[in-house]
Each structure stands twice: as structure tokens, then as C-alpha cells.
């Protein structure tokens, strides 16, 4: 290991600080601010841009996140072992990634535009939104540009040998700052802004991600709650009585 001080700071200290803020921030907010924990819908105030922008952004984001999980968390050796060559992997990654990236960038652009141009929404914009929207846009654009510049039009850059190694090192507690320090500037900036985004995450509306209502698919339709904690006589497969706090 012969990483410079700057490398250690940028690629070890900063990511760990951001991850710590991410974790502690969520615990703090979940315990202190259930009332503020919401997607903060603004569809009531503006729906024409949202109608296209929001689904584009969210569905694009799902694909992009899935791509990141595969690209960052799965070592190249595993995909090789599964019989997927470097060329095949890259072709799929570039095509699917580009489609997802275009959707996400277009959607986010529309969401930003409505936030800036619709006065009702601009006035209702929270301080946390003023951090979130630029940071999210920067991260998305940098990532998109890095892919376009290096892998669509450029000669191709195999981030799985560098950025991914660094990323996995953080979680295996064997940080390898030297793995990423030689990566192209766009990839580096994308990684750094992503770190900041994770640090800001718990203090913004992004927390609604953790409230994705998957449980709704299996819960009974009708919800009864009882004020007192005495065992409720109400029962039956179609109804439920929660024992949780009512407020």
C-alpha cells in the first residue's frame, strides 16, 4: 500500500464518514421524525410534467440501481465463471445502461424543470430539497457522462477492474484507495458525489425509498385499530388489529 494522503482522505476517510452519517442519520431520523418521513408528493400542485417525469425517473433509477449492484458488487471473475465474457458483459451493460440512463436523466430533468418553473412548487421547496436536487442531478449526470464518454463513444473503460475493486474493499474492510486513484476523472467525481449523496440521504425525502409499500401486496384490505391495549375481541382473516402504537 503506497497511497498518498489525498487518496486516503478521498477514497477511505470520506466514504466511511459518509456511510457512518448515512447509517446514524437514518436511525436518528426514523426515531425522531416519523411525521416528516414522506415522499412529499407535489402532484396536487402540478401533474402534467410529473405524469411523465416521475415514472421515467423512478423506473430508470430502478434499472440503474440494478446495474450498479451487478457492476459494483459482483466481481468480474464471477461473471466470467458464469460464462459471460468481458465483451458480452460490456455490450449488455452499455446498451441497457444507456437506456436506463436516458430514462433517468430525462425524468430527473423534467422533475427539476417543474420544480424550478412552477412557482407553486418552487415556493414549497424545502431546504433539504435544495441540497438533494443538485446533488442527485450531479451524481446522475456525472455517471451518465462517464458512461457516454468512455464506454459509448470512447475506447471503453473497464471500471470493474478498478472502481468496483475499491467499492468492494470498503465493505470487506480492506480499503484499496489505489484501485480507484487511477480511474478517469468522471468516474472519480461520480463516486465522490455519490458518497455525498449517501451522506445527505437520511436528511432528505429520499428516505421514502425505505418505505416502499411492498407489504401492501399481502396485507388485509381493512385495517381496524383499537385504542386500548386490552386484547381485542375482533378477529377474522379479513381484518387485523395492530398492536403497534396508534400515533
Amino acid at each position: 500500500m503506497n497511497a498518498s494522503g489525498t487518496d486516503l482522505l478521498l477514497w477511505v476517510a470520506l466514504p466511511y464518514i459518509c456511510l457512518a452519517v448515512f447509517a446514524a442519520g437514518h436511525v436518528w431520523r426514523y426515531r425522531q421524525d416519523q411525521f416528516g418521513w414522506t415522499s412529499r408528493t407535489s402532484q396536487l400542485l402540478e401533474h402534467r410534467w410529473l405524469r411523465w417525469g416521475s415514472p421515467l425517473f423512478h423506473l430508470g433509477a430502478f434499472m440503474v440501481i440494478a446495474g450498479h449492484v451487478v457492476g459494483l458488487a459482483v466481481p468480474a471473475s464471477w461473471t466470467e465463471a458464469a460464462g459471460i465474457g468481458e465483451h458480452a458483459y460490456h455490450t449488455v451493460a452499455v446498451w441497457a445502461g444507456s437506456a436506463a440512463g436516458v430514462a433517468m436523466v430525462a425524468g430527473l430533468g423534467m422533475l427539476c424543470a417543474r420544480r424550478l418553473l412552477t412557482r407553486r412548487i418552487r415556493l414549497g421547496t424545502d431546504r433539504s430539497d435544495k441540497v438533494l436536487f443538485p446533488l442527485l442531478s450531479a451524481t446522475v449526470l456525472l455517471g451518465f457522462l462517464a458512461t457516454v464518454a468512455h464506454n459509448v463513444f470512447g475506447g471503453g473503460y473497464d471500471y470493474r477492474q478498478t472502481v468496483s475493486v475499491w467499492f468492494r474493499g470498503l465493505f470487506t474492510l480492506q480499503p484499496q484507495p489505489e484501485a480507484v486513484s487511477g480511474a478517469p476523472l468522471l468516474f472519480q467525481l461520480h463516486a465522490l458525489s455519490a458518497c455525498l449523496l449517501f451522506a445527505a440521504w437520511p436528511f432528505t425525502r429520499l428516505v421514502h425509498v425505505w418505505s416502499a409499500p411492498i407489504g401492501y401486496l399481502v396485507r388485509p384490505y381493512l385495517v381496524y385499530r383499537r385504542r386500548s391495549s386490552t386484547p381485542a375481541p375482533v378477529s377474522g382473516e379479513a381484518h387485523r388489529l395492530p398492536s403497534r402504537r396508534a400515533v
Binding site: 424545502d126 381493512l222 385499530r225
Partner: protein, 511 residues
Amino acid sequence: MRVLAQIAMVMNLDKCIGCHTCSVTCKQTWTNRTGVEYAWFNNVETKPGIGYPRRYEDQERWKGGWMLDRKGRLVLRSGGRGKRLLSLFSNPDLPSLEDYYEPVTYDYDNLVGAPAGPDMPVARPRSVLTGRPASITWGANWEDGLGGAPEHAGGDPNLRGEWAEKVRFAFEQTFMFHLPRLCEHCLNPACVSACPSGAMYKRAEDGIVLVDQDRCRGWRMCVTACPYKKVYINHATGKAEKCTFCFPRIEAGQPTVCSETCVGRLRYLGLLLYDADKVGEAAAAPDERDLLDAQRGLFLDPDDPEVIAAARESGIPEDWLEAARRSPVYALVSTYKVALPLHPEYRTLPMVWYVPPLSPVLDAVTSAGGDQDDPDHVFAAVTRLRIPLEYLAELFTAGDTDVVAGVLMKLTALRSYMRERILGGTGDETALEAVGLTARQAEDLHRLLAVAKYRDRYVVPAAHKEDAAALTALENRCPVESHGGPAGRKVMLGIPALRRSAPEALAGGRP
């Protein structure tokens, strides 16, 4: 049999003068906060009319309530669970603010702050949302007293079929009445069933439907699912809010604010006992016109020893059973059957019922040259004058005019019988018999409809002391409390800086 108690309401529409006192006092109590300026938990509409929000009764468009699928199963009209989750990103069936109205305040500062000059200073309207001067083009009751009706009221979704054309073309000559509306606190609430977070719930003790502000994540499916459009989004907090049936007052044994302040004394509050095991079956009645009877069939006779035993087993306290026996709501809904639910065809089994107005028929009798004090004339009108009858049937009985006619005849017979009695006569009981009332019942019903005092109109048993500790632990704050509450250390991450101190600033017209 699983007995639950529900606090329910009946409104006698003949007495409603459309003064909006209920709406205003409700607004002052619950929705005078930033983010819900446009929301009226209680509003009064003129009928026929478009309503608030516009055309909310058009479920082809807004997809509210339940319907039966091809196999006869009860499903939400807005789609199944999967479809609902897919529309989280953008809900295609959500009314926009324009469907309600743009809330405004006035430049009151200008009245006292304008420099001296030859002209009187004026307070111009400003949008509460943008702070810019706004022209007022719509409101929660734009068509008050049929104002603008020739242009707008043709858009009333209840005006369907041939007879509706006649209403549309002869507006001034037809009829009108006022319809106060609030959350129906349904037995089969579509909003609760549509809430992806499980934040909405029906209280097992008194049936009040509430939104848990800490668990609402702003997915806004409840607004679409409610066919009465009585769940609102607070655009400052991003959470759903709705009529609470003034539960802090109800728990203290007091009537709701809208009932307490009703000038016409047309509201009744009381308990209904119902069999919760049969709710799903009743809501899924194959024929829409059977829904009224199916729902009435859920209500249990509080004097029946079997019901009392089952209620005790369910943990309903003795004083609540006593209140159920004195319930004016049970009398109007089940004993005398003069109250009807609003739009039973939505299949939510609503619990705010209405005594339909006789006045449209009486007006028609008078304008046809008849005598509205002669029951024969009114009976004839009820059976022959289709317009008001068809319209009332669209509202209250899924289109079944026989049921509405039956109620109106009952009211007519009662009216003429009591009129004779009060004028010193003995009263002709044949008309009463024709509508299935005895002289004794007629007097009771007359007392309930015409002279009932405060404690007869509002029979609200207080929540139980033994529950008090649990109550304060669970619901110790206003369910729709916004950021201005007493908790000084409250985290306000979700609230935009502009809105934090907004109410005063906005009231002055300078947001």
C-alpha cells in the same frame, strides 16, 4: 356475530338553509393551517350542481369506491394492489388543485397601509400558493343557491337519462336543495383499503376513520379511492388529512363541531351497533339497489337480548349499550327508515345518512297550482313528478325511485297528520296507516324530527375512563397537527422553510 359500535350521523335535509356555519366552524377548527387551505372537511353543496371537487361523483373518471368484478367479487374501482403500486410514481386518477380551487387570501394590509389618496384602498385577492394577485374563478361552493347553474349545473354527474335533460333545460323552474357533506366514516372504507402504508385505520371502538400522520408516506391512493373525495393532501406536509369526526370531542361525549354549531339543528348523532362479520357480504350485494337493505341489515337492534349479550362479549360497555338504545340515528335509519345513505352504489357502506328533502316536491306542487298542505296533492306529485324524485334516487338509493317515494310519502303523511293535530283536530290516521305509521309512532317521529332538544339529537357516550390512560398514550395530539405544535424540538425536515412561519405571513397577503 361480532358486534362493533359506530358513531354515526343523520342530517335532515329539509332543514338545511345552506348557511355554511358547519363548514366555517369546521374550517376554523381543523383546516385553517398551511397546506390545507383548499380543503373543507365539511362542505355544503347546492344540488343539482357539480360539487366539490368538481364532478367528484363521476366515478368513471375518478375511480372512487368499490365495484364488483366479473366474478362478483368486491374490488376497488381504482384497480388491484399491483396496479396501485405501479401508479405510485404518478397517480392518473388524482384530482389536481384546479379540480378543487385555488385558495386565495386578500391584501388586507393595503386597507390600512395605503397612502392617502382620492380612491378608497381595496384588498385584492392573492393566491395563497404563489403570493401573486389571483382572480377568483372557482370555489368550494361556487354555485351557491344555483348561482351560475344554467352554465355549470348541467355538469352534475347525477343528471343522467331523459329526465335529466329536462332539469338541464329548465333550471330556474326546477328545484334545489343543500347537501352538507363530510367524511362518511364508512363501514367498508375504500381509503383505508387503498392505503399502501397501512396508515389509515378504522377505530374498533367507535368506527371513526383516521389517518396516522406518523405512518402516512404520502402515496396519495386514499384520495383516489374515496368516492366522496373527502381525503385531502396537505401539500405542505405531503400527508393525507381528513375529517376526524372531531374525535377529541366525541371521546368527551360532545357532538362534532359541525353538529354543535348547526343553525338549522338538522344533525343527529348516535350509536349504531353492527355485525362486523357481515360487512364484506353486505358491500358485495349483487344488485346495487339491494345495498340499502343490505346495509340496514347490518345494524343490530340494541333492545334485542341476543344482541346485548353479544355486544357485552365484544367488550362494549353498558353505558354505550344504553346510548345505543337511545340513539336518534338508529331510530331514523332502522326504526322509521326515513334516513338514506349518500350514494350507496359506491359500496363503501357510508355512515352519514340523510332524510331526503320534501321541499323539491312541495315546490313542484305549488308551481303546478296544487296545495302543498293537502297530502293527496303531494302524494300525487310524488308519484307523478319524476324530476325531483329521479334526482333524489340517484343520490340516495342507487336510482330506486320507489324507496325515495316511500320516504317522501311517509314525511308527507306525518306532516299533514301533525298539522291537523296541532291545529286542534283529531288527525286523520288513514294517511298514516298507508305509510305504515301508528299515531304513537307519528308523534315520536315528529318529536325527533321537529322538536328534539340538544340531548335528544346528540346521544354521544363518552370514551371510557378505564381507556383514558391508553387514550392519552396513543392519541395525545391532534391527528393532523402540523409543524406549529407544542413540541418545540420537533424535527422539521419535511417542511419547506417558507411554510414554517407561513400562516401569519400568508394571512397578511405577503407570502
